[in-house]
């Protein structure tokens, strides 16, 4: 059985008389990437602070790389790397990427020359191709570059676990994907276990395990691929219609090849299809049979975001569209 490398068991946190986390449990095994996802006030940053030993839970156990984060916080410093949400809270903007990394490395007693070597190596993995970029003051770098410097600083002491607070917040869509890909590379290259806190469901696609928090409770926890499998679909298509009513959606839902239907716009649906031969042709035929002709049909991936939205929609048991439709 693989070793649980990040583990929260029955964690309960109260701040100022208010319960922030209630019976929170999740884990990640060695070398995995764990995403802790939730909206504002869900308690994800508190989870991170609990994992870094900055906040003591009133109840529950927290283990990070085999260290009790509640009792042995000081031991955590050596096994844990941390990337804060805001780069300005973790980087000296007047220093270069190399200088920042070396400064933090010195805190761990890493000799200057070794620190520089490691910094260059990590920065190269993170896409810093030129020496000039590495020596530029961090304040003059772009948001995506700064985020990568922050990740480099978190990794400089070769931690076993890297925790990241909203690493993609404030970045453009393509930069978000870039950063997550870089994290994947780091995970593969160094075998470092990662915990990513994010409000962005997209993050889960890059992770081996996901915990979704809502108002201090874990509502979903597991492998995102398994959640995706639970949709019981092999294909997904985005259909656009000129006009779409609740009745039309019910007709689509009743088709035998369709497992789930998810509205993605006013006149657009994402339809999940079970494993069949020539799914696109079959889908169009089936739609025509019930009197529906889509304006466009586009093939799409089945993602954890789809699973999450489907689950949320089913839980709320609300009609697909507000009554005005």
């Amino acid at each position: 059985m693989a070793e649980k490398f990040i583990e929260l068991r029955g964690v309960h946190v109260r701040v100022g008389g208010k319960t922030i986390l209630s019976d929170v449990s999740f884990y990640a095994e060695r070398g995995e990437i764990l995403a802790v996802i939730g909206g504002s006030g869900a308690g994800k940053t508190t989870c991170l602070r609990v994992m870094t030993g900055q906040i003591r839970p009133v109840r529950g156990e927290v283990q990070v790389a085999g260290i009790d984060a509640v009792r042995d916080r000081e031991k955590l410093e050596h096994v844990l790397g941390y990337v804060p949400q805001l780069d300005e809270t973790g980087l000296y903007y007047e220093f270069s990427a190399i200088r920042n990394a070396c400064l933090f490395a010195r805190m761990y007693g890493i000799p200057a020359r070794e620190a520089k070597r490691r910094a260059r190596e990590i920065l190269e993995v993170l896409g810093f191709r030129s020496e000039e970029l590495m020596k530029k003051p961090v304040g003059q770098l772009s948001g995506g570059e700064r985020k990568r410097v922050s990740i480099c600083v978190g990794l400089i002491h070769e931690p076993q676990v890297l925790l990241l607070d909203e690493p993609t917040t404030g970045l453009d869509a393509h930069l978000r994907v870039d950063v997550l890909n870089y994290l994947r590379n780091i995970n593969r290259q160094y075998g470092v276990t990662m915990g990513i806190v994010s409000h962005d469901l997209e993050t889960a696609e890059f992770c081996d395990r996901v915990a979704v928090l809502e108002k201090g409770h874990v509502v979903i926890f597991g492998n995102p691929k398994e959640f995706v499998r639970s949709i019981q679909a092999k294909y997904a298509f985005i259909l656009s219609f000129e006009k779409l009513t609740d009745n039309d959606i019910s007709k689509i839902k009743s088709l035998r090849i369709v497992t789930k239907v998810l509205p993605v716009g006013r006149r657009t649906l994402k339809v999940f299809i079970r494993k069949i031969e020539e799914p696109l042709n079959v889908l169009v035929d089936e739609l025509e049979k019930v009197g529906l002709t889509p304006l466009s049909v586009t093939s799409s991936d089945i993602t954890f975001t789809d699973y999450f939205r489907l689950t949320a929609m089913e839980k709320e048991e609300e009609p697909y569209f507000p009554r005005s439709h």
Partner: protein
């Protein structure tokens, strides 16, 4: 009607904003302290003279050496009478007058700052005054009094001069001297020399600590609260105490640079030269700098924002200045770090005292600095910092 509505809307908004500001001030303890405590300190300081209880520290100490053995009026010993006249006037002028025999000891005490003036009644005082009592005498034969003042202390100089002039006036009235029969010859020692032009020996001991303390405090008061990535650094094995000590040491180096600039300008531009050694002056300035640094670091630790740190800085600096310049109570003044700094510079730069004698105010500053450092470490260790 529309314009009235607009006006009412504007008033409502202003009222809401005023309320918001007041709520902000009430919730901000520092703002309340500045609002209430600062005027209290200044007002009490200015009014304290009327209600003060004088202690020995407030009095100017005057040693009187009677060297006169000349023969004068058979009925009176004028030198003795003049001494008692000084004793009588002393209390009103906030002076203590006492006899001393040895001029060398008196000079030593004046140099060390233990006394503030020496009054020597020289040989011939009696005989000269006796000759003036002859109504046929055409012109008065002046009887001189040699007065040596501590030139580093303007406040006590004033007290001694006041005591001296009142004593001379009353003495002359009592013995019916109507002309310039008694003339004081006043010399201020350890004060500014003529070639220095301006009163550097008086101003340097005040301006230098103000510059050093104020200059370094304004930087250090931002050093923790303004160092946002420090919280991230504290997630590494670096401890809070290491961070604070590193700041203090770094700013001590900055303080040395400030020191070199100040001494350099004074020496090169104003040809200022300390009476004592430069080594002693540098040690003294280091103590002053250390106090400014530790006070600034403490301010930075207790502040929750840069703005708050600025408010604390202004509050602390003004308090130091007000105590030094406006509080007439010597015991309060003597406990003030700025006064200690001033005294320390007077001791090493104006009096040229060896380090052994100059130490007490420097030790006082070191005690303040260590206390502030300990307090800073304690507060910082208790302060919750999360990234």
């Amino acid at each position: 009607m529309a314009s009235i509505n607009r006006l009412l809307g504007s008033i409502t908004r202003i009222a809401a904003l005023v309320r918001k500001e007041l709520e902000g001030i009430i919730k901000d303890r520092m703002a309340l302290i500045v609002l209430v405590l600062l005027p209290m300190i200044i007002t009490f300081s200015l009014g304290a003279y009327q209600f003060r209880v004088l202690t020995i520290a407030d009095y100017a100490k005057v040693a009187v050496i009677n060297q006169d053995t000349s023969i004068g009026d058979p009925n009176y010993d004028f030198a003795d009478e003049f001494f008692w006249e000084l004793v009588e006037k002393a209390n009103d002028s906030v002076c203590i007058v006492f006899p001393l025999n040895d001029e060398n000891i008196a000079n030593f005490l004046l140099w060390r700052g233990d006394i503030d003036a020496i009054i020597i009644i020289p040989f011939g005082f009696n005989s000269h005054l006796a000759s003036n009592r002859d109504p046929e005498a055409p012109i008065p034969v002046p009887a001189y009094i040699n007065v040596t003042l501590d030139g580093t202390d303007l406040e006590n100089q004033g007290k001694v001069i006041d005591c001296l002039t009142s004593a001379i006036a009353d003495f002359k009235i009592r013995f019916n001297f109507t002309k310039d029969e008694v003339i004081p010859v006043i010399t201020a020692v350890m004060g500014p020399t003529e070639e220095q032009g301006i009163d550097l020996r008086v101003t340097v001991p005040l301006i230098t600590p103000l510059l050093l303390i104020g200059g370094i405090m304004i930087l250090t008061s931002q050093c923790i609260v303004g160092d946002v990535p420090l919280r991230r650094l504290l997630l590494t094995p670096a401890s809070k105490s290491e961070a604070v000590l590193a700041k203090v040491l770094a700013y001590l180096i900055t303080g040395i640079i400030q020191m070199v600039i100040i001494i350099g300008i004074l020496s090169v531009v104003y040809h200022y030269q300390p009476s004592g050694s430069y080594v002693n002056l540098v040690l003294c300035l280091l103590c002053i700098s250390l106090f400014g640094i530790t006070l600034g670091v403490f301010i930075s630790i207790i502040s929750n924002s840069r703005l708050q740190a600025n408010q604390y800085f202004i509050f602390a600096f003004l308090t130091l200045v007000v105590i030094e310049l406006a509080v007439p109570v010597a015991d309060v003044k003597n406990a003030s770090p700025l006064h200690m700094a001033r005294e320390a510079i007077i001791n090493v730069a104006s009096r040229g005292l060896p380090l052994y004698y100059a130490m007490p105010p420097m030790i006082g500053l070191l005690i303040y600095s260590l206390a502030l450092l300990a307090l800073s470490l304690a507060v910082f260790s208790m302060k919750r910092s999360v990234v």
